[in-house]
Amino acid sequence: MLPPFDLLPTLVRGLRVTIGLTLAASTLALIVAVIAGVARTSKNPLISGIVGFYVELFRGTSVLVQMFWIFFVLPIPPFNISLSPFLAGVIALGLNVGAYGSEVVRGAIQAISRSQIEAGIALNFTPTQRMTRIILPQAMVRILPPFGNLLIELLKSTALVSLITLSDLTFQALTLRQTVGRTTEVFAVLLIMYFLLAYPLTLGVRWVEGRRVWA
């Protein structure tokens, strides 16, 4: 049997979409995670309450349901917000993974001992400086490996956008199955392509876990 090179052009077209979606959604997730994670440690009950609601809402329901809601419900009244499949995918994945990421950020911030904050007060840093110069840099070390794992989860979840008609890698494979057949080959190649995308990330996470300059 020849290697299924003839399948590749179609799949690579989908691969581009998958990678673009992963990059866009993970950027959104990163921003959301840091902002929501910091905000959730706020002493203001209104801020931490609103953010807590968002986080629990997105962690408590299913990402596929969220994606369908954003793609199929938002366009109708009273919302009237029509999004392209790509944008709907970015928003659903970004907000979903961002909610999980915010818990990582919050946990890492809370793991920084109170005494570090007190040292910051004793040196007369402003509250913002204490967050940006003392707490977040230390939290970063705890944040990186779980963020790497979330990135892998996000990459795998991009396959769901094929269900809202975005022609990502999985979507192209489903199309190929219908047009050329060769089901086994198509899905084997598809699995291998995802593996080649995700496994280097896994190795990267392990590398990061294995090294820390201080402490």
Partner: protein
């Protein structure tokens, strides 16, 4: 609101506690504590575990808020602001201004683990005081040299012994040039053989500077050598105070005697 009846002037004490109360739940830690510390005076605060020594320092460092009473630092109320001659609760801006006068060294060092030694010392001068980096670094090197750690400035704190870390912490606090320095049992977390190097730095500091210092310690010999005055704290109040010679040889109060005999035994 409290009436500001005792106006402070430049010749007044550097620190004044007036009827300061602090409790955690039902635990009354400070009970109407009164205490004055003169400018350039070094006092050692001694007392049994739980007598409120740490709490007293933490309130001065604004890490803990008193329930009532007034504290003056350098003539200004610490936890209050004067508005039309009356004292109202201080805001963050006032607290930050007051914190500039005070520095603290902690029992557990509390160095920033993600910064090398030099940056631990320069970070606050650069970003809080606005000192130019080269100046801040030159000054930090001087201070690290003084505490005997000039060769460690490119190390991370975790690569240092406890005694070395505590000396860095002293240099870090000094770099902010506070008028008052607070030391809370800075040798208590150290292995016995490392205590000497830290106390050595402290003795040198006592000789060479005119800083006001409040030292909480269980090292009685050291307290005797460096302090102008010993303050014995008992159940949240100053039970007895006086020059070291007096307190250590002939205290008035039986409780002081009892405490000293217990700690001097070993």
């Amino acid at each position: 609101m409290v009436q500001d009846n005792d106006r402070q002037d430049a010749s007044g004490p550097m620190i004044r506690f007036q009827k300061v109360k602090k409790s955690f739940g039902d635990v009354h830690v400070l009970r109407e504590l009164d205490l004055d510390v003169a400018t350039a005076e070094r006092i050692s605060i001694i007392g049994a575990s739980g007598s409120g020594k740490t709490t007293l320092l933490r309130i001065l460092m604004t890490l803990e808020e008193p329930n009532s009473g007034v504290i003056y630092v350098d003539g200004e109320p610490l936890w209050h602001k004067k508005v039309n001659g009356e004292l109202v609760e201080a805001d963050e801006k006032h607290l930050r201004k007051m914190r500039g006068k005070i520095g603290m060294v902690f029992q557990q060092f509390n160095l920033f683990p993600h910064m090398k030694v030099l940056r631990n010392v320069t970070e606050a001068p650069i970003h809080v005081l606005g000192t130019p980096r080269d100046k801040a670094e030159a000054r930090a090197k001087e201070l690290l040299d003084m505490v005997g750690l000039a060769d460690k400035m490119d190390n991370y704190p975790s690569q240092l012994s406890g005694g070395q870390q505590q000396r860095v912490a002293i240099a870090r606090a000094l770099a902010m040039q506070p008028k008052v320095m607070l030391f809370d049992e800075i040798t208590a977390a150290l292995d016995p053989e490392l205590v000497g190097e830290v106390l050595g730095v402290m003795r040198q500091l006592a000789h060479e500077t005119q800083m006001t210092m409040l030292i909480v310690t269980h090292e009685m010999g050291f307290a005797r050598d460096v302090s102008h005055r010993i303050v014995f704290l008992h159940e949240g109040q100053v039970l007895e105070e006086g020059p070291p010679e007096k307190i250590f040889t002939n205290p008035d109060h039986p409780r002081t005697r009892e405490f000293l005999s217990r700690v001097l035994e070993h």
